[in-house]
Symmetry: C2
Subunit: 471 residues, 2 copies
């Protein structure tokens, strides 16, 4: 089915079905994305107040064969929220649907509308004495509907899982404009296909999530943070196993940091206090969140002793106060800012099976240095999830523009290597429009065929987020 | 598309494509199911040795429009593994594909072929110093492929989740006979629709799982078991929150037991030692699995003290030895056997949001006693998951046959009430063929429409497990 542009006749007819001020001309902010690679186009932005209005909008678009681009907080990094070409779509923003509909502390469940900002969801959980563990840099802007549609990751995946793992049920409008009432609060419900997980991570191409039943967790009673230096990534992987053996699920984060990141910090953010002098080749940040009656600092001290004995750790800093904990986390959290100030040639959101990371990291170094020995690599990230930010930078004193001609080859070399190692070229950001070609290149052909069949079955007119995930 | 019976011409042609002895006449054991409600029919049972042979079989069935009924360990309780009517299908058993292909202790991952028996998977994990936490009564017979196809539950769901939550990747043959190579060991991989979770819980109607990458966990260093008496289910729900606040993820099981179950045990299994005399109206079994340096007995003693102070618990037994732990678990584990010896009028595998359980339980009692005041209810199960076995029994000294005329009404009353309370009529057993009508009655119509569209898209000839889940 060929999509049509949202023309004045379509917009007038849709407007007549909706309360005043539901359709607007789109501000420019709806047509941009954070990396500035795409400019969107849209005939209007629809701002419904409730699920029924969302259904009216989608149904009209289905009948009229008009594309609908769901727009959450606009923080996605792969262009899923902007449509630069093709028949002019409408944007659909659920920013007016941001209620916390209910909190059930006894059940560890919270029901939020899709337009609720992630930080608001976290705060509502905290108010109920619970933790909503999804946490990521854009949490002050990103909306929970977008987090679910993209299966967001973040810093707590090791312990609590991705957005997918934090959702019990959904309310959604399917591409024909019909409402699926699936806001289950049940932990066990084996009644048919898993439509919930199909919509989560579909990036708005199979419907629009309008509300979600979210899993909460207890707030860990005793948290502790440490940074240990390690010989190499192999030692870091062994240390992770040791930590897990000692505290089980009590390890909340396990982040790998390379000297290149510490060097960038020293160069660009010299006021930031670093834990080691001289700066070590590799270190790991460990966060524990333990229950009542357990002492996280003692547990970290025990771990450090065992790690020294096993020759896995060489030096270490264990935070003795909340201020010190924040100071250690600041090292990890400012690496992306230092990276931005340096300016990468190419950034890669990759994952690799954890046991293969020790070989993958040097293999990538070797391949990139063979391409151009001046390139520098800052490799850091969520080692506990096998998710690395494997980012390639210009040589010292040189600019990223000097490497424009190499960028495509750098990306190809890293992604090819990732697949040789059984990994993924999109660990947490999704496909959007930026990685559609990568998915065609690296994806399993049978999975892609199944995806196309499912898309055609649920969205026969192809109106939902056209061009995202698949052509 | 109308299905055809697997006639001699089809079987001969298929045989010619496969090694000798791959197709056999089906033993009677393949045509029975544990509850004896259905007798299956099949022209042959196919026993492939590898994924390529599975693909050959499915492809031939797709081209020939012949039904394929996947048969795992045969332990399903809803008739998903037997097809009593319609064009004669072939059965597909993966019992020859039972290899543990690989174990990655550092990654907490194990790759098993679908025909591996669950107990074999558990043992392979234990050999690697890890825990595969899926655990259920049929684990000595059930196969991991069937566990995943039905999204099995069991006793450790509270802590570790359902089968779905224990799977990282799948290899599967889709209904057209093509192989999806999706055996990812990645914790984070956002590259397109979640085909894995679509196949898990689809009960063999969308393809055949041939192998799975499974998540392992550390073995908890210190386990402890206790039974506390509680005033009523409301106190049990409050106690669960208290336990979670104290030990976080350290609570592995939280099982509710009613006096009716203890009475049945006393009547039918009098040699079994019971923890309390007189038998209490309600009690809960609590299992903790804590990390190194934590004492589970001490934690349970602390909990008991706090629960007494809060007037949630009245009496308690904390196991002081492994023998005592087993003795407490034996009480819980023998209740189903006592139930079988009594003989239920109707059994219900239900779930309800946890906070509504305190009102649901007496509402069910009231409704059933209004139907027939002689009926007895034994309500017990996985309170931590909101999953109850809410089983209705004959009056004392009467037989189940006396209530044959009431059975349908009993089931209807319970299931209607479950849906009034936002629950599910199949918490862990699935739909199979037994609950197809219930799914039509209680399922969301839009979800059912989406399921039909997905089924048609992926299995256009309707060959996979015809008549299961949907008509």
């Amino acid at each position: 089915m060929t999509l049509k542009s949202a023309d004045p006749a379509f917009l007038d007819a849709l407007s007549a079905r909706l309360p005043a001020d539901t359709l607007r001309r789109p501000d420019v902010r709806y047509l941009e994305e954070p990396r500035g690679r795409y400019s969107g186009q849209a005939a209007a932005v629809a701002l419904p107040r409730n699920t029924q209005e969302v259904a009216e909008i989608i149904q009209a678009a289905h009948v009229g064969c008009v594309g609908v681009v769901p727009y959450g907080g606009g923080t996605g990094l792969v262009g899923g929220q902007v449509m630069p070409e093709g028949a002019t779509p409408i944007l659909l923003s659920l920013e007016r649907m941001r209620k916390i509909r209910a909190v059930y502390p006894q059940e560890n469940v919270l029901i939020a509308e899709a337009g609720a900002v992630l930080a608001e969801v976290q705060a509502a959980a905290t108010d109920a004495g619970r933790l909503f563990p999804l946490s990521l840099a854009a949490e002050g802007t990103a909306q929970i509907g977008g987090n679910l549609s993209t299966n967001a990751g973040g810093v707590n995946v090791l312990r609590y899982g991705n957005a997918r793992d934090l959702c019990l049920g959904l309310e959604a409008v399917l591409p024909t404009g019909e409402i699926w009432h699936g806001l289950s609060r049940l932990r066990k419900d084996n009644t048919g296909y898993d439509l919930k997980n199909l919509l989560i991570g579909a990036e708005g191409t199979l419907g629009v999530i309008t509300a979600a039943a979210l899993k909460l967790s207890p707030i860990p009673a005793n948290a502790g943070t440490a940074i240990f230096t390690v010989r190499d990534p192999a030692a870091a992987v062994e240390l992770l196993a040791m930590v897990r053996d000692a505290v089980g699920e009590g390890v909340s984060a396990f982040e790998l940091i390379h000297r290149q990141g510490l060097d960038f910090l020293a160069e660009k953010l010299p006021e930031l206090r670093q834990p080691f002098d001289p700066r070590p080749e590799w270190c790991v940040l460990i966060e524990l969140g333990l229950g009542k009656g357990q002492d996280a600092e003692d547990a970290l001290a025990d771990l450090f002793g065992h790690a020294m004995e096993a020759e896995l750790a060489e030096d270490g800093v264990i935070a003795q106060s909340e201020a010190q904990r924040q100071s250690l986390w600041a090292v990890r959290e400012h690496i992306p800012e230092a990276n931005r100030l340096i300016g990468s040639v190419s950034s890669h959101d990759i994952s690799v099976p954890i046991s293969r990371i020790p070989k993958f990291i040097p293999a990538g170094w070797k391949a990139i240095s063979e391409l151009d020995s001046s390139l520098r690599i800052n490799c850091f990230g969520h080692l506990g999830d096998g998710n690395l930010h494997y980012n390639v930078f210009p040589g010292a004193g040189r600019s990223r523009a000097e490497y424009d001609a190499l960028r495509g080859e750098v990306k190809r070399i890293i992604h090819d290597l990732v697949y040789d190692y059984g990994g993924s070229m999109s660990a947490e950001h999704g496909i959007g429009r930026m990685k559609v070609g990568d998915l065609e290149r690296y994806g399993d052909p049978m999975k892609l065929a199944a995806m196309r069949a499912i898309k055609q079955a649920l969205d026969p007119h192809g109106i939902m987020n056209p061009g995202a995930v698949m052509r």
